[in-house]
């Protein structure tokens, strides 16, 4: 099991590299990863910073549950989930997910499922700060449609 909440800045590529070296040589044929990074803009204004609040204890419990479910649903060799909380600046990584499997479909699908579950069900809340002041983000964008808009 490898998942945790970080109140400090995270280095996603280092986390993935650290997990990669632990994998038995020749056992995995696919690695899929997702890194979420803070933008300096939202749909309403430019952003200066963000505060990510969470529900301590429930969040850790939920991350562990998600990893367990992903490992049950797909034949994953390994999985890592790390999520930031606290003060975050544009360009800062917010979340990193890595999935290792013998075959690509399991790794890709598990990674996709995990980020959507994190965004829509894990108890985190974003508060954005910009020139117009601070406001809570009411809902996340739809990860399966917005990115396809021309």
């Amino acid at each position: 099991m490898s998942n945790w909440i970080s109140e400090q800045a995270i280095k996603p590529w280092q986390i993935l590299a650290d997990c990669e070296v632990l994998q038995p040589t020749g056992q995995h044929g696919a690695t899929s990863s997702f890194i979420g990074t803070m933008r300096d803009f939202s749909e309403r204004e430019n952003l200066e910073k963000m505060v990510l609040e969470h529900y301590p204890q429930m969040t850790e419990r939920y991350l562990a549950k998600l990893e367990k479910l992903a490992r049950c649903r797909w034949p994953l060799q390994d999985c890592v989930i790390v999520h930031r909380v606290g003060d975050i600046l544009p360009g800062d990584p917010i979340v990193v997910i890595g999935c290792w499997s013998a075959h690509r479909r399991a790794a890709i699908d598990a990674c996709d499922w995990l980020i959507e579950e994190l965004k829509h069900n894990a108890p985190f809340w974003k508060k954005e700060f910009g020139p117009e002041g601070a406001h809570w983000v009411e809902q996340n964008t739809d990860g399966h449609s917005l990115g396809n808009k021309p």
């Binding site: 990510l52 609040e53 529900y55 429930m58 999520h83 108890p123 809340w125 974003k126 009411e138 996340n140």
Partner: protein, 82 residues
């Protein structure tokens, strides 16, 4: 009825924008049969937004999930992590 001393009771928590709207982060209640009643008692009967979520003892629950002495009930808005 809200409690002022720490003994077996229902611990109620509010998070994010809901905490700002309610004006408090947590409160203890003597008792409540379910989260719906806990909301009423903890908020002095404030209107309950349609989209809020509830957890009992760190797991998602319903507003009619039975709660017992010592339980923790949390109310929060739709989540926005990731």
């Amino acid at each position: 009825m809200a409690k002022t001393i720490n003994q077996m009771s229902i611990q109620v928590k509010f998070f994010a924008s809901l905490r700002d709207k309610i004006g408090k982060a947590d409160i203890e209640l003597d008792a409540a049969k379910d989260p719906a009643e806990a909301w009423t008692l903890a908020t002095d009967n404030a209107p309950r937004p349609d989209n809020i979520l509830v957890a009992v003892n760190l797991d998602y629950a319903r507003f009619d999930t039975p709660v017992k002495d010592g339980d923790e009930v949390a109310f929060f808005p739709p989540v926005t992590g990731g």
